[in-house]
Amino acid sequence: MHASSMTAPISYDDGVDLRAQLRRSQRRQQLLAFGLVAPLLLFLAINFITPIALILKNSVDDRAFSKAAPEVVAALKNWDHESPVPQEAVSALISDLVHAKGTPRLNAIASRLNQDVSGYRSLIMSTARRLTEPQPAATLDDLARISPMWEEAAPWKAIQRASGPVSSMHLLAALDLQHDVDGNIAKVPPEEAVFLTIFGRTFWISMIVTACCLLLGYPVAYLLCTATPRAASIMMLAVLIPFWTALLVRTSAWVVLLQREGVVNHFLQWIGVTEAPLELVFNRTGTYIALVHVLLPFMILPIYSLMKGVSVHTVRAAISLGSSPFTAFRRVYFPQTIPGVISGCLLVFVLSIGFYITPALIGGISDQMIGYFIAHFTTETANWPMGAALGGILLLITIMLLAGLGYLRGRSRTSR
C-alpha cells in the first residue's frame, strides 16, 4: 500500500480501474479456493471444534443438581450459613430425595455432592434408602437420626455450592485446588492431591520419550539419507512396517517380549548379561520402551524429509576448509536440520502427553498418565465434568506448547 499511494492508479483509456479488475478476479479465485476447502472447514467445525467446545462447557456447567433437586436448591437460596438450617430446606430435601428415588436423578444428586466432598454419595444414598414419603413437617433431628452428618452445616453448604448454574469446582480440582469453607481457593489436603503429580509425571514421561526418540531417530534418519537407494528402501520399510501395525498389537507384543520369562529376559540371561530376570514390564521401564518404539517413526519421518533437502556437500566443504568432522556436523549440518528436529520433537511430545493405551497396558499403576485418568472419569465413574476439566487443561497446555515451539521454529527459519 505504501508504494501504490505514491503513484496514480493505472487505468485504461476507457477509465476501468485495473486494480479493481485485478481485485475482482482475485476475489473470485479466493471464493473458489474457499469453496474447495469449505467441506473440510465444515467437517472440522462439526467434528472437531464443536465437540471440544461442548466438552469444555461440560467442565464448568453445573445445572444437573438443581434440575434433580429443585426444592432444596430453592429453599437454601437465601440461607446465610450463620443461622440454623431452615426447616423448609429439610422437608424440601426429603421431598427431592423421595421423588428422585429409583431414577437417575438420585444419582445426579449423590454424584454431584460426592464430587465436592468425598463420602457424600453414601450419605445421600443411605438417607434416600430410609425415606419413603415426603414429610412436610420433618426437622433436622429427623434427618440426624438417619445420619448425624446432617446436623452439621457442611452438607448443606455443599448443596448450596452445587446449585449452579456454573462452577469452577472441577477446573480447580484438576489442579488439586478447592474452595475452602470460607469460599477461598485453597490447596486440597495432601492425601487427596493427585493431579499435579500426574500432570508432572505425564510431561516428564513425554520429555524422556521425546529425548530418546530424538537420540535414536536422528542417526536413523541420517542413515536413510546417505545409504544406497536399495539399502535405504529396506530401512524405510523397517521404519514403516511397525508404523502401519495396529497400536494394540505392538503394545501387547511388548508385554510378551518384556515379561519376566519373556524373550528379552531369556536372551539377556542366555548371553550372560544378567543373572536374574529384569523387571521390564508393568513399570516405568516398560512404559518408556514401548512408548519410544510406538512413537519413533513420528521422529524419524519429519527429520528424514528435511534431511533429504540438506546437501552433504556443505559438510564436505566445511571439512575441506579445515573444520573437524564434529564441528562441521555441529555448525554446518545440524543447524540445517533443526526445523525437522523441532517438528519431530513436537509430534512425539504432543502424541505422548495424550497417550492412553500403551501406559495402561504396560505401565504399573503409578506410571499412568493423564489420559488414563480422563478415560477413568469419563467411562468408569461417569464424572464427565472432571474428565472435561482435565482434558481442557491438557488442551490448554498443549496449545501453549505448540504456540511456543511454533515461535521457536519461525525464529530458527528466519535466522538461517
Partner: protein, 347 residues
C-alpha cells in the same frame, strides 16, 4: 451439489444399516469374558438362540457401576443383559439404572438360594476370589493371606484385582483379623486405615489386574508368584490347559453375581425370556461343569455331580473357612473406598 448428494446417500445407507441391526430379534449379553463367559455361551446363549431364534451378541466387561451409569446416561443402551456384582445390582436398582424384573415371567423367588432373588437382579452364579499359586513353580505354597504378604518366604510379585473390593478384605485377613470380623473392622475409619497400611507393605510388589483372564496368565507366565484371582478361572485353566494352579480355599471370598437388565434396553422381552431360561434348574445344572462356579437355583444345586462340586464355592468343605462378601457393606462404601483406593494407588 454432488457432494451433498453423496453425503445424503451415505447417511441414508448408514441409517439403513443401523435400522437393520435394530430390527432383527437380538439380545446383547455382557458378562465377564474368559472361561466363565465361554461356559455361559455353551450352556445358556447358544441353546437359547437355537430355541428362540434370538441372535445373541456378546460383550464383556470387568465391572464398575460408573460404566453402567455412563451407558444409561449417555443413552447408549446397546447392552441389554449384564452380569453384575451384588453391590452394583443394589445401587443400580436404587439409581434407576436397571429395569425392575418381571418375576411373574421369570419364576418363583423361593426356588433360589437366599439373596439370589432381587427386584432388579437374579442370581447367576456363586463365585469366589481367593489365593491361587502355580503348583509347578512352588512346591510348598502359601496357605494364608499372611503368607501372601510374606515377601521373605515367598519373594516375587503378587497380583490382585484393581480396586478396593476383595483387596481390603484380604489385607485385613493378612493382618490377623479373623474372617468373621473383617467387615466389622472395615466399617471403622481405623479399620480402613489398617487395611491400607497393610497394603503399603507390599504396594511395590503388586501388579494389578482388571480383566478376569489376566490373573491366571500373570501367574502361569511366572510374572507373579501368586495372586488373589477368580478361582473359577484357575480351575478352568487346570482342566483346559493342563496348568497346575493350587487354590487356597480358606480365606477366599465368595459372592453372588446377578443377571440384570439395563434400563432403557430395547430388547426387554428377549432379556426377560433369557433370564427365565438361564436360571431354570434344567439349564443351571449343566453350568458348573464348564464354568466352575456355583449356581443359584436350589433344584439345580441338587443335581450337581460331586466331582464337579468339589471345585465350587458352594461345596461345604470350601465354604467352611471362606468369607461371604457383605453386599451391604460395599453398597455403603464402594464409592468412597474406590476413590480412596485410586488416590492411594496412583501415587
Amino acid at each position: 451439489m454432488k457432494a451433498l448428494k453423496s453425503i445424503s446417500i451415505a447417511m441414508a445407507m448408514t441409517a439403513a444399516v443401523v435400522a437393520g441391526t435394530v430390527q432383527a430379534s437380538q439380545l446383547n449379553i455382557t458378562a465377564w469374558g474368559g472361561s466363565t463367559q465361554a461356559a455361559q455361551k455353551k450352556v445358556y446363549y447358544d441353546p437359547f438362540s437355537e430355541k428362540t431364534g434370538v441372535k445373541i451378541i456378546e460383550d464383556s466387561w470387568s465391572g464398575g457401576l460408573g460404566i453402567l451409569r455412563t451407558r444409561v446416561q449417555g443413552g447408549n443402551t446397546s447392552w441389554d443383559v449384564v452380569q453384575v456384582e451384588a453391590d452394583e445390582m443394589i445401587l443400580g436398582c436404587e439409581e434407576g439404572l436397571l429395569e425392575q424384573l418381571d418375576w411373574d415371567k421369570i419364576g418363583q423367588k423361593e426356588d433360589f438360594i437366599p439373596g439370589a432373588a432381587a427386584d432388579c437382579g437374579i442370581g447367576a452364579v456363586v463365585w469366589s476370589t481367593g489365593l491361587v499359586y502355580d503348583g509347578k513353580r512352588l512346591n510348598e505354597g502359601p496357605k494364608t493371606w499372611a503368607d501372601f504378604w510374606d515377601l521373605e518366604k515367598f519373594p516375587g510379585k503378587r497380583t490382585l484385582r484393581r480396586g478396593p473390593k476383595y483387596t481390603l478384605e484380604f489385607a485385613l485377613m493378612a493382618d490377623g483379623v479373623p474372617g468373621g470380623q473383617v467387615y466389622e473392622v472395615l466399617s471403622t475409619t481405623e479399620g480402613v486405615e489398617r487395611a491400607f497400611k497393610k497394603l503399603d507393605e507390599i504396594k511395590d510388589e503388586i501388579v494389578w489386574w482388571s480383566a478376569g483372564a489376566q490373573g491366571p496368565q500373570l501367574i502361569a507366565s511366572g510374572e507373579v508368584t501368586m495372586g488373589g484371582i477368580y478361582i473359577s478361572r484357575a480351575v478352568s485353566a487346570n482342566q483346559a490347559e493342563g496348568t497346575n494352579f493350587q487354590v487356597v480355599w480358606p480365606g477366599s471370598v465368595y459372592a453372588i453375581d446377578y443377571f440384570v437388565i439395563l434400563s432403557g434396553s430395547k430388547n426387554k422381552e428377549n432379556a426377560t425370556d433369557f433370564l427365565a431360561y438361564a436360571t431354570s434348574a434344567d439349564r443351571q445344572k449343566d453350568y458348573p461343569a464348564y464354568g466352575n462356579q456355583g449356581v443359584t437355583n436350589i433344584k439345580a444345586n441338587e443335581l450337581i455331580d460331586p466331582n464337579v462340586l468339589k471345585n465350587l464355592p458352594t461345596a461345604p468343605a470350601n465354604q467352611k473357612d471362606a468369607l461371604a462378601l457383605d453386599p451391604e457393606f460395599w453398597v455403603e462404601n464402594i464409592e468412597k473406598l474406590t476413590q480412596r483406593f485410586n488416590v492411594w494407588a496412583s501415587r
